[in-house]
Symmetry: C2
Subunit: 334 residues, 2 copies
């Protein structure tokens, strides 16, 4: 089994916990809706990180089962709401909650997740710390989502977007956005595992630092694969079709291109409906710059920093898995 | 000042608290969205009930300020989400969060409310009990909303509704629905005040019982006014236009009507677009039954029971206000 399969097997240990909590107080006609997102799949990277971080801190990983369920439920909560916002119909080849049950039921399922989260936290061994992680993670996810949307150059209606849209995204703003949207929860996943293990401060910080860097790398790699990926099962250039400036490759390219080419790329991102030929032009512009190389190097740098953050940890199988996972993220690039 | 104005003044004491918590961690471009619902108004009945219940239990009402803010934030959270579900554009003459900022921002504002709720609860003097009230209230509100929607006879797309729609609503199912949708939170409002006052069990139960009955009465009166109300500022028969079976008047009428008239009324509720003349026919059918009288008597009975629930409480200005409030709810009927 490669690291992805091992992680997935590990991470799925939380499924029955999630199910049990999601079922509680749910009417029999509502329970399938509430639990549906579990079956939509996902790699369970986040829950696996919590379990591994607990083990790498020297404790039995079973102590982190509830915190791992909490982390995965936060992720699922955000996916359900995200699909409502983005009208997402398919995830991993399956209909989303939105597509399967409609917007009203998806919204109620999302709200139900948030109540369940409080109940899971109540039953954790460090409820106050876990709740602080939960609130921080959801608040940052909300803000990350807001920023990501404001980085879109077209496609949303309403004066809020025309008023607050970012027509220019610096690499710093990009990092701020992906930190909130993606890295905060992955950091929280690792920290929750360390907390569950009663790890000393220094280990908590090491694991949190690892999660933060790997979380950023995750998103950078996602951006890279969106533009250059093959055999990912997703359409190439989806971010361009969705008018997103918030993609590392695009940001690096815009900096590298001359004025004329930059304006051309921006005009494509601002086109209401990006045709296949416009998409091709955009991809060609991106390929003509050093953006690919820069994005690749950025991801590798983040992964190396993440791995280095684990130096304080004693050797263990769990630590090895964490290091392997970081490498695996990097190896998705080619 | 009549009781409504006095309550409103009292209830608005929580506004600055809500504002402070909603602003926390909110980007300056997000804070106005997060706080917008406060300004949409509302009578602040729920927060006033918490403050009065605390006072009626013999404590300073300032002790219930955070619990009262919690209750009002739950209410606002549910309104924001409800407006997304029902495409509600106007409340009390003002644009809803949805209408003002669009669906994406409304959803993010709603999610933000739920995080803020956890932070308010953290700062309450009985966090565990308050959190239990919060979770119970939101879960029941979700289920009440689901039931209310399933009682609609047309107008929602998706197989979930065609599959689970209730074509027949008993008075018991109606009470189950309004208990969850409306009375649970009003009960929680009173109980939160009693908890904040460290009231003995018997007072907690008295106030909770009062809140439950008055909460049910609230909804029954709303149903009555929807059908028979004049000068309410709302369109008469909105529930008919919205295909709702979950209205006390309609349920009583359906029981009282002969088969032909009942089928006619049901067919109107099932008409995709209820025209003015169909609405008139429906109202005429309802007026021809004892449903008006029965709904009136039901509301008065609930109000009397709610008032009786306060018998254990010592006399106080706050108790008098609670009794006045119950009467006020009943006096909206004519």
């Amino acid at each position: 089994m490669d690291i992805a399969d091992r992680l997935m097997t590990l991470g799925h240990e939380v499924d029955s916990v999630m199910e049990r909590y999601l079922e509680r107080d749910a009417h029999r006609d509502f329970a399938p809706v509430a639990k549906y997102q579990i079956g939509v799949g996902g790699k369970r990277v986040r829950s696996a990180l919590t379990l591994l971080s607990c083990e790498a801190s020297g404790a039995e990983r079973s102590r982190a089962l509830l915190p791992a369920a909490m982390i995965e439920l936060i992720h699922n909560y955000s996916l359900i709401m995200d699909d409502i916002i983005d009208r997402g119909e398919v995830r991993r080849g399956k209909p989303t909650v939105l597509a399967k049950y409609g917007e009203t039921m998806a919204l109620l399922a999302g709200m139900h997740h948030r109540e369940v989260l409080d109940e899971v936290v109540n039953d954790c061994s460090h409820p106050d710390e876990m709740r602080a992680l939960l609130i921080d993670a959801v608040k940052k996810t909300i803000e990350g989502e807001r920023l990501d949307i404001l980085f879109e150059q077209s496609g949303r209606e309403g004066s809020y977007f025309t008023k607050h849209r970012s027509k220019n995204v610096s690499i710093e703003s990009y990092f701020d956005m992906i930190g909130k949207k993606t890295a905060t929860l992955i950091r929280a996943a690792c920290l929750a595992g360390a907390l569950a293990a009663d790890a000393p401060q220094i280990l908590q910080e090491s694991l949190a630092g690892y999660g933060w860097k790997v979380g950023l790398a995750f998103q950078v790699v996602d951006d890279y694969l969106d533009i250059f990926g093959e055999k990912t099962g997703k359409q190439r250039g989806k971010d361009i079709i969705e008018h997103k400036l918030g993609n590392a490759v695009i940001i690096f390219a815009l900096k590298a291109l001359d004025r004329e080419a930059r304006n051309h790329l921006l005009s494509i991102l601002r086109t209401e409906k990006v045709s296949t030929s416009l998409l091709k032009s955009a991809l060609k512009l991106l390929e003509g710059t050093r953006a690919r190389q820069m994005t690749y190097e950025l991801a590798q740098k983040l992964i190396a920093e993440g791995k280095r953050s684990l130096e304080n940890l004693q050797e263990s199988d769990a630590k090895t898995s964490l290091l392997d996972l970081a490498d695996f993220v990097g190896n998705r690039l080619y």
